[in-house]
Symmetry: C2
Subunit: 242 residues, 2 copies
Amino acid sequence: MNKTTNRRKSAAALPEFDAVLPRTRRAQIAETLRDLILTGKIAPGSQLVEQAIASRFGVSRGSVREAIWELVDQGIATNRPYAGTFVIDIDVKTMRELYSVRGALERYCFTEIWPRRTREFRTEFEARHATLVAAIQKQDRAEAIKAEMHFHSHPYEFSQNGVLLETWHQLSKRIQLSFAVSQVHVRGEDFIEECNRYLAAAIGDDLSMIHGEIDRHLQLGMDAIPHMDETGAEHADAVAPK
Amino acid sequence: MNKTTNRRKSAAALPEFDAVLPRTRRAQIAETLRDLILTGKIAPGSQLVEQAIASRFGVSRGSVREAIWELVDQGIATNRPYAGTFVIDIDVKTMRELYSVRGALERYCFTEIWPRRTREFRTEFEARHATLVAAIQKQDRAEAIKAEMHFHSHPYEFSQNGVLLETWHQLSKRIQLSFAVSQVHVRGEDFIEECNRYLAAAIGDDLSMIHGEIDRHLQLGMDAIPHMDETGAEHADAVAPK
DNA sequence: CAGGATTTGTGCGTATGTATA
DNA sequence: ATATACATACGCACAAATCCT
């Protein structure tokens, strides 16, 4: 039944790395659910009913249960004991917080890698940028979100700082979820221009410039927020006027 | 069998708040295990055997299994499919990363709260500081570690930024684990003096001063690291030019 | 390099606690 | 206040993979 675990050890030299680590049901279910949630196919606030998901996937409740808890621990679902597990419904305040913490993290990241950037760093960044632009022009919303995350992950991956990267991944999942919540339409040429500026600053020579771009870039994201209705925005304006 | 569920509803007015939120077995087991790990009573690298823990606690394997996965998702244990879950054995590189990311986070935190600090902020900070000093003087290692975490959590809690606080909690658990790994002895008067300086800067009027103190404070922690033997530091110098 | 012991991964039935309509 | 749906928890069985001798 598990077709992914055929590990043939041939005598030839194997250029393959990352040797197909055995994926458990738990991991597969969690990944599938996470994808469904982050792309908005499972609406925020939905209850994740174990039995329903189990029969839908054709697995046992136990596996589903564990997968669901993985989502809870990752912050994209929440659990009320004996009541159920529900997809997080991010409010405006949390979105602001996500952006502000991300800003601090990203400024720090660029500061760290700045003198260590190589030619490869730039070419890879440009490649991801091209993918992102293509996705935006195709008006493929899901693809664009994924591409943007991949684009912005690059400096973190390049930092060689595992803790920093993990922290970013934690944040990025919830940021991605916030995209699904606020139905921000695929932004057009303006946004492409914005990404161009970001990229230019990131591979340029002036550290303070990318810091400024980060602030601008995130400010744009926050400006798109107020379109949301006040679904749970009790503390929406607890932030000081800047 | 469950003796804690006798819920007598008397007619008298109940001054009790925080009405005993239902704690599941999963949560209790996870907390107990986490405490055992973070205080070093379960050594880093140990395998967490489900059946053994289950019979030790007198619960089913399923509950233990879920609790263990909570630890994995929190980053203080790691799982290899079909091989087992093991308490993380933090290496030197990861410790450095933890400290550096924490530094960035903490500088940002103070920057955010700086103009919003109230009198209450100061008094609470001083109270936690006093607790920490007392613990150090008592030479109670476990108590001191807990007190230090509580002390340093205060600015994050005061920030009213839930995302920032969660991120800190994630980091702090692993930092606490690193304390258990590196058998840093309870430091003496020097360290108390260090904490005094930190507190003074934190409640003072010069933002750049607390930024400097953060760097110094973390530098002290990193300086204590090289004492570690290479107990499981296989990848310790994977950063250096080979 | 076998092969058995150990441990995890998964499934299923069942009983009970809890929330909610 | 009752009923129902669901989560929580237990126990057992077996498959699958790893570890160890």
